[in-house]
Every structure is written in C-alpha cells, then in structure tokens.
Subunit: 208 residues, 2 copies
DNA sequence: GTCTATATAATGATAGAC
DNA sequence: GTCTATCATTATATAGAC
C-alpha cells in the first residue's frame, strides 16, 4: 500500500492524486479533465484510457479516499481524547476532499457523513452521558459543524491570521476549539430565553 | 424596495432572483446562463443585455444579497438572544447564497464573513466576558462553524430526519443547538488532556 | 426591452498511431 | 501504456431584427 506522497507513482496513481487535489480544491464541477491531466503530467487521452470518463474518475477517487480514511477516522475518534482535526498531511488532504465531495453531493461521502454521525452519537452517549436527550441530533449538529468548519477553512484561516493546516494556524485553531468545546456559549439564563423562544416556535408550528 | 417574492417583477429582477437561486443551489461554476435564463423565463440574450456577462451577473447577485443581508444580520445578532438560524424564508435563501459564495471564493462574501467574525467577537466579549483569552479566534471558529453548518444543510437535514429549513426540521435543529451551546462537550479532565496534547504539539512546532 | 441566430471558445469523449 | 489529433457537444459571448 504505497503512500501517495511518493514521487515514483504509476501514471494511473498520479492522475488519481491530481484529481483528488483538484476536486478538493475547486470541486468536481469546476475541474476539467485537461486540468487534471496537466497536473498529473500526462495527456487527456491517458486519463480516459485508465478511468473511462470524468465521472468514473470521480467515483474512483471517492472510493479510494473514503477507503483510506474510514479506518483512520474510526481510530481517531475512539482512541483520541479530543475532536481536533488531524495534523497528518495526508489525512488533512483527504478530509478536504471528503468535505468537497459532501458539498458536490457525492453519495459515498454522504454515507460516510452518516457513519460519522452514528459514531459520534455512540461516543458521546458512552463518554458524556446526560449531555443531551437526543444523541443522534446532537451528533448531527456536531458532525455538520466539524465538516463545515473544514469547508470554510479558507475564511477561518484568514480570520485566524494563519493557515489552519500549517502548524502555526493549527495551534491557534486548536486553542480556540478547546475554548469553544469546554465553555458553554449559552449561559443558563440565555439558554432559558432561547428555549422559551423555541417552545413558542414549536407551538406555532404545531398550531399551523 | 420590493420583496423578491412578488411575482410581478421586471425581467431583470427575475433573472437576478433565478441566478441567486441557482448559484445558491449548485454553485456559480455548475450553473449555466441558459439554466438561469430558462428559470427566469427569458432568453439567454436578455441576460447578457442586462448584465453583460455571467461573471458580472454573479457580482451583481453578490452585491444585492449582501446589501440586503447586512442590516438583517446585524439586527439579528444584536437583539436576538440566541444564535439560531433565521426562519424567515428570504433570509434563509440569502444565507444559503452567501454560504455558497463563500465556498466559491467570492471576495464580497469573504468580507462579510470577516465582518461577522468581528461582530461575534464584540458580542461575546461584551455579553460573556472571560469565555476565552482570544475573542477573535473564538469568533472565527464560531462563525466558521455557523456558516459551515449551513453549507452542510443537506447532510445535517438527512441526519436530523427532516429538512432543517422546514418548521419540523428547524425545531429539531434548534433543540440540538441549544444542547450544543449550553453544555460543554469537553469535560474539564478531557479539556486538560487535549490541552496537554496541544502544548506538546506547540512545543514541537516551535522546536522545529 | 426582448428575441433569434450565430460566432467563438472550451469541454468531454473518441480513434488510431506508436 | 501513452500520445496526438479530432469530433461532438455545450458554453459563453455577440450581432442584429423586432
């Protein structure tokens, strides 16, 4: 199982890696097969030879990235104490890809999202019982925010003053995340106010 | 200032509204001028007549949406107790648009993101002093997560079992958000463990 | 202001040489 | 396995009629 970082890859692998990089960066819709071929240093024709079509290539990338990520993610979630984004460059790259795939409507990425929700819900219920009455909804919000934060990395990095995928930016992000996850933003009185507003809304929704 | 909901709009306004809807849904890159013209019920030629080019149309949409949202957002943030997404359909639509624009790299959307970070930082510092040492980084994470959650609305809705823009889904989302923001996910001992891991990481980053 | 028709460019797909 | 050349389709941009 060769790491994609290696330079001496087959053309097929270089095409796949180039596609993963470009799809993650701009999304599949905004990436042309010529861009991919150029970045991989091959001809557009070879791309078709190996993958048949752009869509088939996209699916191959999905399968490849998801396959390599699933084990790592499960491992991270279960034997890591926190919820910080991974630092390993490959994992970061793949996470960015999945995030884009989620936005592009990839079915396999969506399935992975659902897995993450289930995994998070189980983890939270096991480690922090009593946190919520509805672990699955809580985990849905948590997972959506995690991947959403990754999707917004460009803007979060700009606000942080450092790219969140560099060590410098990652440290700032992690510090903010620890504050974020260890101190409630809603104080009890604020929470009560919001809760009553929600109750009013719920009543209105059921009334109508 | 006519609401875009009205049916009796000029062709120019219909084009703009159709573009906003399609850009928000699929992103600007994946939307063709023909799609927009069709949805607006006009010819592609008229689109050019009014806006000159697809790119110019995108900028016009950016300016329009951002202009109409800025006041509403500021108002929301300052006289609303919570951080729940707005329910008003127009605001929801515009928020979705801005979220997409953020992902598509729109400069004006990015500027709005930065404004939101500043606004949030000020609000938090004023209402919940002592929450963090670095309000700006905290607000960067918070704003990134808020818009990111919106970007992931399709998947969050699926996990919630109801579209988060319908009353039913919104109630479930709001309930989960209240739990999320009022109970810390990191207990003190977990936070300490993560903090020490971060310190180790920081030392390593500075050492290298 | 609005349309039809067309020019130009870009894209994905294909065929065949090496 | 890899490339070059080319086709068919689709996109944007433009011109001119009504």
């Amino acid at each position: 199982m060769p790491e994609p970082e290696f330079e001496d890859l087959t053309a097929r692998a270089r095409i796949r890696d180039a596609a993963i990089a470009l799809f993650a960066e701009r999304g599949a819709g905004a990436t042309t097969v010529r861009d991919i071929a150029e970045q991989a240093g091959v001809s557009p024709g070879l791309l078709r030879h190996h993958f048949g079509s752009k869509e088939a290539l996209r699916e191959a990338c999905d399968a490849y990235v998801l396959d390599r990520l699933v084990q790592i993610k499960e491992k991270m979630l279960f034997d890591n104490p926190g919820f910080l984004p991974a630092v390993h460059p490959t994992v970061v790259r793949y996470n960015k890809y999945v995030t884009r795939a989620l936005l592009d409507g990839s079915p396999s990425a969506a399935a992975m999202f659902d897995d993450m929700v289930r995994l998070s819900a189980d983890w939270i219920e096991q480690h922090i019982p009593g946190l919520t009455k509805d672990y699955h909804s809580y985990a849905a919000v948590f997972t959506g925010m995690q991947s959403g934060l990754l999707a917004m990395h460009e803007h979060v990095s700009r606000a942080l003053g450092a790219d969140m995928f560099t060590p410098e930016g990652h440290v700032r992000l992690a510090a903010a995340l620890i504050d974020f996850y260890s101190h409630p933003l809603l104080t009890p009185d604020l929470a009560a106010k919001v809760q009553s507003a929600l109750d009013a809304l719920r009543a209105k929704a059921e009334g109508a």
